[in-house]
Amino acid sequence: RNYYGGNWASFSFSGLCSWIRENKQKRDVREESDDWRKLILETEEAISLNMKDNTIQHIEYICYANQDLAEDVNEAGALRKLSAFGVSDNGEATQGSEKECQPVESQSLGPESCEVSPESITCNDPESATERSDAEMTSESENLCDATSDESALEKGKMENASTAETAALEPKKITYTQIVIEGRRFNIDLVSKLLYSRGLLIDLLTKSNVSRYAEFKNVTRILAFQEGRVEQVPCSRADVFNSRQLTMVEKRMLMKFLTFCLDYEQHPNEYEDYKEYKFSEYLKTQKLTSNLQHFILHSIAMVSEADSGTIDGLKATKKFLQCLGRYGNTPFLFPLYGQGEIPQCFCRMCAVFGGIYCLRHSVKCLVVDKESGRCKAMIDHFGQRISAKYFVVEDSYFSEKTCTNMCYRQISRAVLITDQSILKTDSDQQISILTVPPEELGLPAIRIIELCSSTMTCMRNTYLVHFTCSSTKTAKEDLEPIVQKLFSLNSETERESENEGGPEKPRVLWALYFNMRDSSGIDKNSYDSLPSNVYVCSGPDCELGSDYAVKQAETIFQEMFPNEEFCPPPPNPEDIIYDGDGTQTEDPGFSNSSNVITKPSPEENSGGDGDSNQFSEEQHEE
């Protein structure tokens, strides 16, 4: 693997395409040599590990966007290859050009106006360039101005601005596949789709450990509901409820009364005592709530199952939601800029700053177990290097079927769409929304949809990235495509124009990916066949919206290894770190036979065996 976080990772568009290719490829691993067996002594035995990740299945991707030019287009890099730096009057030229561009700039630039796209210069693809939006035109011309004082370039930029300015804002921008490929690095597409509860365990952990310094977040701006074929916004904060135009006065009062009660429902047991054995959906019916409000509370606020969640579960979930409101904004959720995949990287950075060593592009052949003690002593990588350690944290997917006999995994169905408009258009096109769609049939899982706008830095301008998640009953496409069809138009450009009569226009899907991911959460450690006691198994991502499961699991594993150490303590102030006088620097490339390649700082740093345990950090997601 050349990326962090396993199934928690996120990818640029081209990165995701290679991930798809890798997972579709059925690589026969058995032909590889068995040389590593020589490294195992007579007193030892090996637990061989999977060389290929089997956690992803049923990958399907479909491109709906216009593909005419898509043959040999490549993702554009970040750097412009210009020697403009050397030009002495560069400053003047820039200032001059800024004036030229200003009028257009002020009307079209959104919150990410600092984002310019130099791709437009490096890309030698005039046809797609003419299709670009006015906003991009602006930045393009700005760039041209900025890069060179060439008069004709300025003229060209102005002309393009003028020609596109009129059609701006009315039509959704037509994005072609070529543009998606060229702007591919603006995408950060997560394999798992989660949010952070603003008072959840992950936020606590990030702030306590100061790992939060490496990340930035956006508040989710809208909670949505899907009723009778329509998407609508759910009022959930006090302000929302009062300002809501879709609720009647009576409904507003009902909703406020019920939510106020939920915030401290434990104090009023007589209100729900009689309904303890009921389902939450049934309980809601007994409250003075219209069916509209019942839908909001059940599916969008509590987000619990209609078929099998009890009254207490529902009240608990509603309370959790309400308690998270207002901490960072008007909804309970945060989303990390650049995607969920940043979070594992942030933990890795903190660990590296304190001496942890990471190795990408290494795969692990086997674990070496000492026959006499039954403990794991070392691992062997695919270069035939033997690395000793005291503790091994291994993700479930590394174990072969032999170790995981009779294991019954759940599956997660996922879809990722790139679309051209929001599922609920409003004044601002920069919304981050969550929508829970209840199942068609009672008993089937609900589908969670998270729609991200370009200011989350997960998709290119004028597109949206839409994540679908549910626990699988069939393949991801079978589970999710029906709802995709309800919310979006899957037609290609031309079909759409003929069909465009009557009815509200649905956003268009430009590109779609479906896949199933194994959900190894909730598997008991004892289910793994005869693992040494110093091998700790961690699961892949679960299906829930929050990350509580992963945080708890990381803490549990850590406490088992180091019962007397604090989990993710606040880092010491850099000024308080005193280096060992004899901390010698090793010149060798890292993995010597022991794990002590790290020069350890003085006791201020909670050294708790980091040096020993971090060898598997590559596979240690979230921890």
Binding site: S113, L360, R361, D580
Partner: protein
């Protein structure tokens, strides 16, 4: 009062070329022969005046993650500049510059200012990389280039001054953080609850 602008600068380059020494010299004006691999400091800061602004450099070191080519995309996020360091006495370290530039292209932000530092110029007896090669390469990618010695404090200040000069003037639209949230322990606990 002069406006303070925080500028993230990320350091790149092979293990042992003197990345940390350069920061150490710049920030603390100090050189240590046995500098241990950067532990405990996520980034170092130094503020320098530039025109009518103050540039506060937040200099991110690789924390050793370059050793196994394990720098994550997150390392490059939001960088205003990158300093790519090679060792003038090691041809190999110059060869790999291109690899680091490629990384930047893939993961770095647009319009990042690039500076190439040929470090250890005090050891010119052992020179393997001619200055001319570095200059030509830097020009081809639009980067600043200087030869430095963290040990003898040569051109270190100049390197960062050069970066300062290349930083484009503050864009009025860029003000603020476009609505993103930084979590901190001192987060304002506005208990403005729903009901």
């Amino acid at each position: 009062m002069m406006a303070i602008r925080e500028l993230k600068v990320c350091l790149l380059g092979d293990t042992g070329v003197g990345k940390s020494s350069i920061v150490c010299r710049f920030v603390q004006d100090h050189f240590d022969h046995n500098i241990s691999p950067t532990i405990g400091a996520s980034f170092m800061t130094k503020t320098v005046p530039c025109g009518n602004e103050l540039h506060k450099f937040l200099i991110w070191d690789t924390a050793g993650q370059e050793r196994f080519h394990s720098l994550a995309p997150m390392y490059y996020r939001g960088s205003a500049a990158a300093v790519i360091v090679y060792d003038i006495t090691k041809q190999d370290s110059f060869h790999t510059l291109k690899k680091w530039v490629k990384e930047l292209k893939e993961h770095g932000p647009e319009n990042i200012v690039m500076a190439i530092a040929g470090n250890k110029c005090d050891l010119s007896d052992l020179r393997e990389v001619p200055m001319k090669d570095a200059k030509e390469y830097a020009e081809s990618i639009g980067a600043i280039v200087v030869e430095t010695s963290a040990k003898n404090a040569i051109n270190i200040e100049e390197l960062f001054q050069g970066i300062s000069r290349q930083i484009p003037p503050l864009d009025p639209h860029e003000n603020g953080n476009n609505g993103s949230i930084k979590l901190g322990k001192q987060t304002t606990q506005t208990t403005r609850r729903c009901c």
